[in-house]
């Protein structure tokens, strides 16, 4: 899969995630793969990619912890004082929805189910991809342009937390 393909998948998922906001009280959502990749996000920039990846990887571990005991997670709700995180298993990945405490839960459940189904094919494709290599110091100063011809539309500079030239 090329970067462009991955980007297209991510953008498609992002559009689906955006529909979750039709339910009042939803702050945003993101999708995290089993290897900790942030596959897609539709959440205010206040939450940086790195932060979402860190949080997502812990939520993936929650799922793994239960799976170790034979409990395969389908849905999870984590309650904080003023917020909830709604988790929906999509393939081996997790759709994580950040919502206010007073969100309409039946509506959220239904919306999450629909979005989960819609993004499932894209998630499955992304899961098959190897995790991105961690940038090293030498890679941070490339001497050659890394952009493939036509890889990213103009103005679209970020993909899964990395800047695309």
């Amino acid at each position: 899969m090329t970067e462009a393909d991955a980007y297209a998948l991510s953008e498609g998922m992002r559009a689906s995630l955006a529909t979750l906001k039709d339910v009042g009280g939803i702050t945003g959502s993101f999708v995290c793969t089993p290897n900790g990749r942030l596959a897609a996000r539709e959440i205010p920039d206040l939450f940086e990619d790195g932060v979402l990846a860190e949080a997502g990887s812990r939520l993936v571990r929650v799922r793994e912890a239960f799976a170790a005991g034979g409990d395969v997670l389908d849905i999870g709700v984590v309650r904080f004082r003023d917020h909830r995180i709604y988790l929906k298993a999509v393939g081996d990945s997790l759709l994580c929805i950040l919502a206010e405490g007073a969100v309409n839960m039946p509506a959220l459940r239904m919306a999450a189910n629909l979005v989960g189904r819609r993004i499932a094919p894209a998630v499955t494709r992304l899961e098959a991809e190897p995790p991105p290599e961690a940038p090293t110091h030498t890679q941070a100063e490339p001497t050659q342009p890394t952009r493939m011809p036509g890889a990213a539309p103009p103005g679209m500079r970020r993909f899964r937390g990395r800047t695309i030239d």
Binding site: V51, F66, G69, D74, V77, V78, F80
Partner: protein, 282 residues
Amino acid sequence: MTIQLKGSNGGEEEDRTAPGIEPGAAAAVGFRARLAGVSLWDLVQMECQARSHLVVLVTGESGIGYLYFDRGHVIHAVTAERNGEEAALEILGWTNGSFQPCERPWPEARTILTSPEALILQVAKRRDEASNLVAFPARNAPERARAATPDDDVLDEIELFELEEEGAVSMRSTEISDSPPVPPAARADFPSAEFPVMLRLGSHGAILKNSGGSEELAETVAYVRRLTELVGEFLGLDGFSAIECSFAQSRVLAFVDSNGDTVVLRPRPEANLQALRERLGL
């Protein structure tokens, strides 16, 4: 329970409040006793057996109440929020405190017709059906009001529920008093049959109580709690309080108790958890 059964053995003090001695009576006979470890139920039965006519101030772990005895019956009771039989049941549910005769205006009419034995049995039944006290974290009032239904009038009173547990302590066990005091007004029974698995984990993950749970589940939930707290820190979300996970065949709920313990529940698949969810904000 520490009690003060006042009386005298002919000394100068005219304590007339020993069982069977009416306040105001001229005679001043009997012993002064100071006992510890006596149950409130025993004291009530003593007063009834003595056919006392007196008012007793009961100071319990959750407030004070008055029991009115007359000719072998508890005929009236008052607590801060209740009157009559409900107040008597509330008082009899207390496990620690003191029992002291006092002067109070006598009620105009008898409010309790149930026999003292039946009252005690009623409280005992509630306690015998359950032995483990689990406190719910209270949710914010606005949200509760928003979701209020007629049934919530009862559910709002639930600050703790009780679950059966192997090796359960009896009502009179002092272990019960280890739980933080919870207003009796906030007590209600919760159907224990709906939760075949219950675990209570200490703040460091140690299993404090276990009914049907496994060590593996305890370890899992202890880890999950830590992970969710980390998630909260990453995302700037304070106050992790509960989690519900639905699996293919079962569900698990865990919540942080008022004393910091983690309580883990695995309900029966068919159990209706709506009330519990609302209580936990899930």
